[in-house]
Structures are given as C-alpha cells and as structure tokens.
Symmetry: C2
C-alpha cells in the first residue's frame, strides 16, 4: 500500500465532482502502431475534451473546492487552460502566468476561455515564481501543479479507468514533469493493480525529476532543452518526489528525436494529433524495444495542444 | 413514435453486446470551432477506437449474432475493417469486397485485421453486386450495410449517448450515405428527444439518398464524384429510405469545397484527423450559418480513416 499524500477513497469520490466530459476517456489497442513498436500498445486518450489535455480532471476538483473568488496559477499552458475552463463555470476569477515561449495554441485558448493571462520571460519555473509573487501580493489562492493534491488526485482518476479498462496491462507509461500525473496514476495502480509496472518518461533535455528519483533527493537543473513544453521543469517539489518514490517502478529519459518520432507515429498510424509530452511513452518504447517486447503497454496520451507549424515539421518524414 | 424497422428496446440491449471500446465515446463542445461556425458546436467523436469509425457498433451486433462461420460484405472501407475486427474476435471467416479506389489506409487495415480482401473495379455499388454474387455462389451470409438492421441499431447506440450527453442539443448533424447511421440515430432521437432536429448531410457529388428523401421514392444516380468515399452510394435501399422518411427532419447537400474546409477546420481548431465523411456536418454549418446561428449543434464525427497524402492536401491552407 503506497504511503503518499493521495487517498484512494478521495480519488474515487472525485469522479462525482469532475465534469463527466473529462472522465471515462477512450482506451484502446492501436494495432497499427505495433509493427513499429514490437509490443501490444493501448493508448489512453486524454486529448478529446474541451481543453485537449488531462488537466481538467484536477482543475475541476480545485474549482469545486474553491467556489467563487480569485485564483492564480503558473502554467506551461495546459493547466492554465483547464483552470480557466473550470473557473469560468463556477465564477472563479482566474489569472494564469505562463512563459512567453509557450505554444501560441495554448496561450490563445487560455485567453479565449476568459482568464487573465500574464506572460513572463524565462521558463515554467520563472512563471512559478511570478505566480507565487502575485498570490502573496494580492492575498489570493495560488494553485500549484503537483503540489496541490487535487492536481494529483484529479490525474489519479485516469488510473481508476486504466484498471477497469485494461485488466491485461503489464506496463503503464506516464509522462513525467512536475509529477502530478505520475504520482496520481501510480498511486492508484500500486493500490489497485500492484502487478502493473509504473514507468515514468521524461525528456533527457528536462531531466530534473528523473535525476531526483534516481538520487532519491531533489536535484535541480540550470535549464531545459526540449520540445515537450508540458513537462519542462527544473525544480522538483520535495513532497511530490517523496510520493513518486513510493509509486514509480522506474523513470527513464528519452531523446528529442524519439519524441519527434513518437509524435509522427501517433499521427501517421493512429490519426492522433498530440503534443510532444503526449508522445513520451511511444518514445520510450522506441528507445528500448527489448524491455517491452511481448508485453501489453498502456501509454497515456496526455495532451494535444500543439502549434500547427511545429506539428507539421514533426510529422514530415525525415528526408 | 417513429414506425421504422428499428426497435428502441433492442438498441438499449445492444449496449450489452457491443464491445465497450466502441461505446460511450467523447461528446464535447469545441469552442475553438465556434468563431468560424457561428453556433455552439459539440462533436460526437467516433474515431478514437480500434477501427477509427462508428462501424464497430454494428459489426459487433452482427458478429455476436452469427457465431462462427463465413460472412461477406461490400464496403467502402470502414464496414469491412469493423467486420474484420469483430469477426476475428469470434472466429468468423470474413471476406470484404471493396472498390479498388478505396483509400489505401482502409484497405491496408482490413488486410491487417485478417480478413480476405477482394478488390473490384468501379464503385461501392459494384462492390455490393460482387459481394452479393459471392454470397449466393458460396451460400454464406451477406452483410448488407444499412439493410441489415443490426448495422442501423448498432449506429443507433450513438443516439442513446447523444441524448444522455447533450441534453441541450438543438440539432444533430449526421452523415448520410446508405442510411444506417442516419436512420439509427434518427430513430432514437425521434423516440427519446423528439424536440431535437435531425439533419442528414450528404455530398452534392453523391446525392442519391438525399434526392430520394426529397422525392419520397428511390432515386438512383449514374455516378458519384466526391472525396467522401464513405458515403458515396448510387442506389438507395427502399426499406432504408422508408425509415429515413420517418426520422429525418431534413437532408442537405454540401459542396466538395465545404467538405475540404470542414476537414481542415477540424484539424486546425480541434486537433482531429477526420475522413471527409466525418466533416460533412461542419460543411453543412459552413454553407448555412443562418440556419444554425444561436443553436447548439451536435455533429457526429463518424470516421477518421484517411490517406495521409490526401489529408495533407486538404489541410494545407489555400494559397
């Protein structure tokens, strides 16, 4: 039984709070991917909802808990979009602080959903500092992805669904950034399906949480270099690392070229438009066929917010 | 109460027979589409399953009813793929007759799913003739899309879900080809949500069923000219037309340019890879903004099996 900050009964109860549009997402075998991947592959698809990522599961819990009022979050783009969506339904006044370099597709949608958007130079961790400053200055609630347990327990509802939809799963591949999704899904799997291997996948260009997991203590990095903007953090949160150490069986790093190949394969063979973070699982299989051969692998396709020009480059076959 | 060949209790019971991977598909508002369409738009997404179209709902009913044995169908590509999938699970020996001109993506998948594939010159109605010949010659079951009530009642389970998921829907847009999906969803809506307008959409280049609906008698055409291969029939089935007359409020024809624009908009603004038949609803809104303005429109995105080269052409903005 994992000893994390998360609680399985609360996660089960969360299903009654989260808008059904974010729940019970498709999980299905993608046999067209399998000749190239050498194992049985199922996708758990988190892109077919109003914010095109899994983040709505967590922001629904946060917004339901807050009622009306003011709230601010830092976001690489997806959390902000989801908080704007959940907040708008419930009369929350939402401010999102995001890196100026975030994909325009994400920033445009945050704006369209009615949130106040503040852009900062620098990366996600710069946005975190600025959001924290705003919260202190204005005395309003700071939503912190992965630290706020609602973000983890919201993501954890994906785990409940995987257990129900894929009883034959041997491995679940989960994108690793701040750790909300990995600790959430991992907690549920370790409690309800302990035989399933939980493998986190992070870009080699943004390895802070993976390095921390391996060192069993927080390791920060100076910078990040990855197209997977959704998982590009430098400063792991200690409490989240503690949870991750309880529930993850492994954390692996993948190269940028493999992430691009994953985006392309999901488009070509599965007809799915995914952002780079959503292709990390496929990238991990591509880099280690032997590890997954003969097993049933579920990969969580966690988001689909991409700029079209970048996506077009990624899916164009290398000449 | 519609007086069709379909039965709502049987449709409800079908949910217990169809593999859950085809049921309870996403239905969600796509607000990023709305500035261009001028109305509230929700998509009912039938592409995120092992055969990337809604046809699995019907083939599951057929295969469950048959048990083992031999079966043949004509298909523009999606029914064949679905019947191959359902048949393989249950030990059915499946032959699919398809036009040689069908998208390679569809033909490749039929083959990969283990069905025998026979290609014919000519169009879908030529394939129907050939499949019928094989069935008579070999004394095996001919599966006829839209005529076999399981294909309609399978598709009708989409209607049950729309009623539950979109209680605020004013209009449902349904691609019209042979009529299985239109009569299926239409039957359920007329019985359970009679205030919802049921609008069928067909390409102007393949108008036989729409012309028949308007004339209230079967009208055949000499040829078809459309990229929407999934709905390109020339010879409506009388019994299906009788049902359609009971449940459809309207049938409209759309131009090829609008279908291409629909494929492009769904890709650009919703991140969805759809085949042309899946974009017919969006095409209908594009051609008649005034009709849908201020209403909540649900459009059934019925399939996503496209050849990549063609899709790339369609989504490249006109210069």
């Amino acid at each position: 039984m994992p000893d994390t900050r998360l609680d399985t009964e609360r996660i089960q109860a969360a299903r009654r709070v989260v808008d059904p549009v974010y729940l019970d997402t498709p999980l299905y075998r993608c046999q067209a991917l399998e000749p190239d991947l050498g194992c049985a592959v199922s996708v758990k698809l988190e892109t077919a909802n109003p914010v095109r990522s899994f983040k709505g599961r967590g922001t629904e819990l946060i917004a339901a808990g807050l009622g009306s009022g003011y709230v601010v979050c830092a976001s690489a783009g997806n959390l902000g979009q989801a908080l704007a969506w959940s907040g708008r339904r419930r009369g929350l006044d939402v401010t999102v602080v995001a890196p100026r370099s975030a994909p325009a597709a994400k920033l445009d949608r945050i704006h369209a959903l009615g949130a106040r958007l503040e852009l900062v130079d620098g990366d996600f961790d710069s946005a975190r500092e600025r959001a924290s400053h705003i919260a202190r200055r204005d005395g309003i609630r700071l939503v912190e992805d992965s630290l706020d347990v609602e973000t983890c327990e919201g993501a954890a509802t994906i785990g409940l669904e995987i257990v129900a939809q894929a009883p034959s799963a041997d491995v679940v591949l989960i994108a690793l950034g701040g750790g909300a999704m990995a600790t959430g899904i991992g907690h549920v799997l370790k409690e309800l399906a302990p035989g399933v291997e939980v493998v986190c996948v992070q870009p080699a260009g943004a390895p802070a949480m993976t390095l921390s997991y391996r060192a069993r203590r927080v390791v920060t990095t100076e910078s990040t270099t990855t197209i997977a903007d959704g998982v590009a953090g430098r400063r792991p949160i200690p409490a989240v690392l503690d949870d991750l150490l309880q529930v993850a069986d492994d954390a692996v790093l993948v190269e940028e070229a493999s992430i691009v190949a994953g985006v392309r394969m999901l488009f070509e063979h599965a007809g799915l438009v995914v952002e780079p973070s959503g292709a990390l699982g496929v990238a991990a299989i591509l880099e280690d066929h032997a590890r997954f051969a003969g097993r049933h692998v579920v990969t969580v396709v966690c988001g689909g917010n991409v700029d079209l020009d970048a996506h077009r480059r990624w899916v164009t076959p290398p000449s």
